[in-house]
């Protein structure tokens, strides 16, 4: 029976092994009336004590095996057993309803878990699993049985279960377990998080289709694509053994680039930075060895709420990011609202052409106080790291001048109040309007750096709305017209001793990187997951060869010609 199933890839990797199916744990305990509730409460307290001792043991083992962060999950479990809403509530129920402790704990825990599952937040739904794990352990103690069945494992296997509790996952025996498949769960489940730190392939959220997988069947677990092949054919097995080998080799190769400088084959250094949209993205930035943050979008601070964020709130966030980056450059873009991004509470007038209307710096210069609050927060945060401030949507030099004047005014005020402000803040602009690219020389005299925002630059150069599917064919990042604008910007910056970065999707594109390196781009800012592949690619490229490649590309007539030129060059350098 050869079947192909699809779930959510929760921890990347490929595994091939026989299945071991974990039996679903505890059913509902039998409801019994007790004559002596006080004695029943004592029985419950004893079970809680034993459960705590077990969890403490798992916590210590996890601490040794996976480190402090993962062990904290079990600290939280211990904490749950002290929560008034759980055990105390169960005790109350024993007294009031004169029922056995198993039933009381089960009912209270089920009630809480259902409440958590009903909420519109994936993380909260996951916490329902924690409540189930600890309450299940207490019930196991009450009825006197083993809480986990995993100890039975004695040969290499891929586990299949309805769900894996955090305590199951932390105790997996890596001598035998090659990966796991669960019916429920998501990328943010505790079991998924642990699988990633154990580097164990996992596909979760398979749903009821996983019921068709039984102990002893052979499966291919492709946790890169999130697919599972049950009872694969010989051909599929051969194919996947090769894919597994290639995948693992590639992972090891990419990982070796984490701590290396971003150097081309001929020793030219560039900066590979990350784009982030919230503080949550930081972990990936650090994991992937970014040289800095090339674009921190601040819109998230303003969105999904009912009023403007205060200076204090913004300061806390900026300072946190600067400290986390530990002296590496962090480019923070001031508010880029308008266009497709609206703030309901600001009650901005409707515009018939919002992308050509009062957005970004245009709005900030018009709503002075909004802008000043953000700038004060940025200036105060500058004392905690290497800050660069970037203004979006600059079209003419006057706008930059006005924005810089406001920065200076706020700096003077802060310094007068004896608040520390770094004197090494760089102030730069996004280049996303063709007029700015064409007049880059004048702008370079005023700006410390440029960062080319390709998504908007392409939209405005091609006069093609990027939300409109019917003109999507005009989104052509490799078109010679775009490359010529990029070239003009970099040349103008270099003549004035400034550096140029790029923070659109193009910066992480494998077909664009040789051209951008050749044109002299200094900073490439992309999503964190693209950094290592980009660093690996650049390490194989010669800057000098890329420079002549880029010169040729500028004289071509279409994107198709540019792409074929780049790909020819790539395949030549690979052989």
């Amino acid at each position: 029976m050869n079947i192909h199933l699809q779930g959510t890839a929760a921890s990347p990797g490929i595994a091939i092994a026989k299945v071991y199916r974990l039996q679903a744990a505890a059913q509902e305990p039998l409801r019994i009336t007790v004559a002596d509730p006080a004695a029943e409460i004592l029985r419950l307290r004893e079970a809680v004590k034993q459960a705590k001792a077990d969890i403490e043991l798992i916590r210590v083992q996890t601490l040794e095996r996976l480190g402090e962060r993962k062990a904290e999950i079990f600290e939280a479990h211990l904490f749950l057993l002290d929560d008034p809403e759980l055990i105390e509530a169960a005790e109350e129920r024993i007294t009031e309803d004169k029922i056995n402790a198993e039933t009381a704990v089960h009912e209270v825990a089920t009630g809480i878990a259902e409440l958590l599952r009903s909420m519109d937040d994936e993380l909260l739904r996951e916490r329902a699993a924690d409540v189930g794990d600890v309450s299940g352990r207490v019930i196991s103690k009450l009825v006197g049985r083993q809480h986990s069945a995993l100890s039975e494992l004695s040969e290499e296997a891929i586990l299949v279960a309805a769900d894996l509790t955090p305590s199951d996952t932390a105790q997996l025996d890596l001598n035998y377990v090659r990966g796991f498949i669960t019916e429920i769960g998501s990328r943010t489940s505790h079991s998924a998080i642990m699988a990633r730190s154990l580097e164990l392939p996992a596909v979760v959220g398979m749903g009821l289709q996983a019921k068709r997988i039984e102990t002893g069947m052979t499966v291919i677990l492709d946790a890169v694509l999130g697919s599972v092949i049950v009872e694969p054919t010989e051909q599929e097995l051969t194919d996947y053994r090769e894919r597994k080998r290639a995948y693992e080799e590639n992972v090891a190769r990419m990982r070796s680039f984490v701590d290396r400088p971003s150097l081309s084959a001929d020793g030219h250094e560039v900066e590979l930075a990350a784009n982030i949209g919230s503080v949550e993205d930081l972990a990936k930035v650090l994991e992937n060895g970014a040289d800095g943050i090339g674009l921190f979008r601040t819109e998230f601070l303003y969105m999904g709420r009912s009023s403007l964020p205060t200076e204090e709130e913004q300061f806390t966030v900026y300072r946190h990011v600067l400290e986390k980056m530990n002296g590496k450059r962090v480019v923070i873009r001031t508010l880029d609202i308008g266009g497709d991004k609206e703030l309901p509470y600001m009650d901005l007038p409707k515009e018939s052409n919002p992308f050509l209307g009062q957005r970004a710096i245009r709005l900030c210069l018009n709503q002075d106080e909004l802008f000043r609050v953000q700038l004060r927060a940025l200036l105060r945060a500058s004392a905690y790291g290497k800050l660069a401030i970037m203004f979006p949507m600059i079209a003419v030099v006057d706008e930059l001048g006005a924005a810089k004047r406001i920065v200076e005014e706020e700096r003077v005020k802060l310094e007068a109040a004896s608040i520390a402000v770094s004197d090494e803040i760089e102030i730069g602009i996004m280049i996303e309007i063709p007029a700015a690219a064409l007049n880059a020389g004048a702008l370079a005299r005023e700006a410390d750096f440029f960062s080319i925002g390709t998504n908007d630059l392409i939209q405005y150069t091609m006069a093609a709305d990027r939300m409109n599917e019917s003109v999507a064919y005009l989104y052509q990042p490799h078109h010679p017209s775009i490359l010529r604008l990029v070239d003009m910007v970099i040349q103008a910056a270099q003549r004035n001793g400034r550096w140029t970065g790029m923070c659109g999707e193009m910066a992480g594109d494998a077909d664009a990187i040789p051209l951008l390196l050749g044109l002299g781009l200094h900073e490439f800012s992309m999503s964190a997951s693209s950094i290592l592949p980009a660093r690996e690619l650049i390490s194989r490229l010669s800057r000098e060869e890329c420079a002549s490649l880029a010169r040729q590309a500028l004289d071509l007539g279409s994107q198709a010609e540019v792409l074929s030129l780049v790909r020819q060059h790539q395949s030549r350098s690979e052989h």
Binding site: M119, R127, V131, E280, S307, T310
Partner: protein, 87 residues
């Protein structure tokens, strides 16, 4: 009784770690600690109570303290609602 409204900025909302720290702190005060989000209400000394409020970044939370040390509790717990935690 003291009461004040705060905006949570911790990006992951108020789950595992922040809620644990908050509950520990709340438990160290003798007064009653109650949190309100919209029409929902929770015991500030219970992490499960906090979880069921569903606090996310940008949530506006009204903190109410009632009893001994209510002023100090309001101030210290209010600070905990408006900072960023290591996660």
């Amino acid at each position: 009784m003291q009461s004040q409204t705060f905006t949570v900025i911790h990006p992951q909302g108020f789950h595992a770690r922040p809620s644990k720290l908050f509950v520990e702190k709340a438990g160290s005060f003798p007064c009653k600690v109650t949190l309100y989000k919209g029409t929902k209400k929770a015991n500030g000394k219970s992490s499960l109570g906090l979880l069921t409020l569903g606090i996310s970044a940008g949530s506006e939370i009204t903190l109410e303290t009632d009893g001994e040390q209510e002023e100090q509790a309001l101030q210290e717990l209010g600070e905990m609602l408006t900072k960023i935690y290591e996660e």
